[in-house]
């Protein structure tokens, strides 16, 4: 029964039924698909698709629609690296915030292994640009004590949160 199949979001009141999940799956696969095409596929009116999508947008379930660009293909970025930044523990949050504001930093996280550190994914046009960026913009940040950088040589997977995988775990 579709109405009982819900994906509840922890610490929030938003719940989705099976049709909402189907619509999200479709949007994650191709967000440019029309309401009419989706409605036809799911056997519902296009206005129903539109209303459900609008509701999920208003609830913040759907945050934005983006284009995934292969920067290497257009020659803008050639080097991607994972940078581990060791810091004075008192400065970790501040350093992470400053890194997050830099355009070369694609992702930034604080992480706890044997010590608290920052992991950041960075991108640059060349190895030389990567080094210049780290030497001029990261090493001088107050609280940075050491940096380890690994240049990525081959990408095997890169994805975002998938509604399909999440819904499998709740048997939808």
């Amino acid at each position: 029964m579709a109405e009982t199949q819900e994906l509840r979001v922890k610490n929030n009141t938003v719940s989705l039924d099976a049709m909402d999940i189907e619509i999200l799956r479709a949007l994650q696969k191709d967000s440019s698909e029309t309401y009419a095409a989706m409605g036809k596929r799911f056997g519902i009116a296009h206005s129903t698709v539109r209303d459900r999508i609008r509701k999920m947008e208003q609830q913040g379930v759907i945050q934005n629609y983006t284009a995934t660009i292969d920067a290497e293909k257009i020659g803008l970025r050639n080097i991607t690296a994972m940078m581990t930044v060791y810091t004075d523990p008192k400065e970790t949050e501040r350093v992470a915030e400053k890194l997050a504001a830099l355009p070369e930093v694609l992702e930034a996280y604080t992480s706890l292994s044997e010590e608290l550190l920052i992991i950041a994914k960075v991108s640059a046009a060349s190895q030389e640009n990567l080094h210049e960026f780290i030497a001029n913009s990261v090493a001088p940040l107050p609280g940075v004590s050491r940096i380890r950088t690994s240049i990525i040589t081959k990408k095997f997977k890169e994805t975002q949160f998938s509604i399909t995988e999440a819904s499998k775990k709740v048997n939808l």
């Binding site: 990261v138 050491r146 950088t149």
Partner: protein, 114 residues
């Protein structure tokens, strides 16, 4: 060389203009130098791989010339680069060249009695 120029070379620079020692692309050792005297000390402490990395790239010469504005020392470092030194031989030679320069800059000429 005037005393004014000498003191400029020996000045401490802001942290964003300091020299940061790396062992390879993106791998920062945690050592930095914000003045020529500090730089002299770091040469004897850092991993020798860092000295090899920066000398080979011309980073020392560039920093000394552009940030400390010491063309004379930059020229001496450039000559060292051409010798293709490695390991502690490199450390010793670089340390000698920089220490000698610091000594020259810090030793004031004795004023004449007459």
């Amino acid at each position: 060389m005037t005393m004014n120029t000498d003191s400029k070379i020996l000045k401490t620079v802001p942290r964003e203009k300091a020299f940061y020692f790396f062992t390879s692309i993106g791998n920062y050792t945690g050592s930095s130098a914000a003045s020529l005297k500090e730089f002299m000390g770091r040469i004897n402490e850092v991993n020798v791989k860092s000295l090899e990395f920066h000398l080979g790239r011309g980073d020392f010469e560039k920093w000394v010339a552009e940030v400390l504005q010491d063309q004379e020392l930059a020229g001496e470092i450039k000559r060292l680069q051409k010798l293709n030194l490695t390991g502690n031989g490199l450390r010793d030679q670089l340390s000698f060249v920089v220490s000698r320069r610091v000594k020259r800059l810090t030793t004031q000429p004795t004023p004449s009695r007459y």
